[in-house]
Amino acid sequence: MADLVIIGGGPAGMSAAIAAYKKGVRDILILERDGALGGILQQCIHNGFGLHKFGQELTGPEYALQYENQIKELGIRYKLNTMVLSITKDKVITATNGEDGIFKLRPKAIILAMGCRERSKGALNIGGTRPAGIYSAGTAQKLVNMEGYMPGKEVVILGSGDIGLIMARRMTLEGAKVKAVCELMPYSGGLARNIEQCLCDFDIPLKLSHTVVEIHGKERVSGVTIAKVDENKKPIIGTEEYIACDTLLLSVGLIPENELSIGASVSIDKITGGAAVDQDRQTDCAGIFACGNVLHVHDLVDFVSDEAEIAGQSAADYISGIKEENIHINVETDGKIRYTVPQKITKKKDVTVYFRVADVYRNVKICVYDGDTLLLAKKKVKVAPGEMESIKLSEDMLANCRKLQFKLEEVNA
């Protein structure tokens, strides 16, 4: 048995486990589907991780190793190659692996840390045939970086998320020709540094407001037709352009993987695709917590680790029966701010609220209201959907608050 079971041994799961251990929980078990701890970091061999957490630039495997070493030093238990089949509302976990068969666990608390998966071509409805040579960027990343196979020689990438940009560079370094990166939106969803070092460094064209309208080829991809899109993201007739290629990579977004959470009747936020949580990252099922990309998709693993620490510490408090004065404040947004995490605040304490905006906005201020009263405003020269923002609310601000509203307002020059 275990007091705390953590589903997923990636950066979120490991960080949550360590945080819970440091707050006194000793009986912890991590269940990991893969054959190693570390999650997706194992295939993210590029550098740029850990600047915020460790003050140095680490590769994905190095960042994972920092946590894996701590897990081993502390003696935190984990089971690899273990698939969780279901979780119930009253925290009964059914899981299976080759050694134990099918087994059940009934912990005092559960932390959901399953991460996310890539949006697939099926979800995009691109016309054309179904030849070989179409991969999600993450699949291509696994093939190149872990299996040692090159998925193709001439590549078009649809979507300019960070994984797509990173793979444009990676495939180029290994000898492929990346002919274009097409982005439906008028701006890239990836970090500016990745546009610079992954595309500009290799003269790979970034075609904004462009999409793939048709895939050609019978056995294997022989080319794609791309087209410009209008402000409603509809392809503009007459702008079609044929690009010969043998591979199409899709980097079109990530979806939190919440089948288990839904099975446990955890309420899901329709915008984040993850659980709706309070400041402790507790879901509406008592004792079930969530953190990392299963809760909302992050840009930086460093922030995943931070969030997981909150979940781990909170789960430890829950297990030891620590109760604080209960309040109930819903956090609402104006649409320009798409979502916040947490979605509600239930304890009087300092809370950092993370959020994303819906579009690129310049010269704005992020305003936090309680009814008509402005509690806080923070000016920003530029905000973009690809960059998560945060704002810290103090305990004093929340003292008599009923409903928090996050609004994005223009700054008059």
Binding site: Q42, I45, H46, N47, G48, L51, E57, T59, P61, E62, L65, V144, N145, M146, E147, G148, R170, L173, E174, L191, A192, R193, I195, E196, Q197, C200, D201, D299, L300
Partner: protein, 114 residues
């Protein structure tokens, strides 16, 4: 002469403007930290990059490696050729040097592999 750059040192990705006179950077603006200034000064004169890639070990397993410091940008593909010819023998620990002095940098493993 002015040159606009995007800093690649950290995820903030500051938009930098470097003022160049006689092949030297005389001023940098737009940076939020000293690393941005240093980046612009190098980038305008002799750009450098870290290379992260993999090697196929004897036995076939794929080991991720990196240059432990930056190398001249124009040498990145030459470095790739050298690294792709390396086939180290396992076991290897993260931090182990796979090859010394590739354009002034060591090639090091970033993962334990047994």
């Amino acid at each position: 002469m002015k040159r606009e750059l995007t800093c690649i040192v950290c995820p903030i990705g500051c938009s930098l403007v470097a003022e160049i006179e006689d092949g030297k950077v005389v001023s940098v603006s737009g940076n939020t930290c000293p690393r941005g200034k240093a980046y612009a000064e190098t980038e305008c004169v002799a750009p450098k990059r870290t290379v992260t890639t993999t090697v196929r070990c004897i036995g076939g397993r794929i080991l991720p490696v990196k240059t432990d410091r930056t190398i001249p940008k124009e040498k990145v593909f030459d470095a790739m050729k050298i690294i792709n010819n390396l086939h180290p023998v396992l076991p290897i620990s993260a931090g182990d040097i796979i090859m010394k002095d590739v354009f002034g940098s060591n090639i090091v493993a970033v993962k334990n592999m047994f």
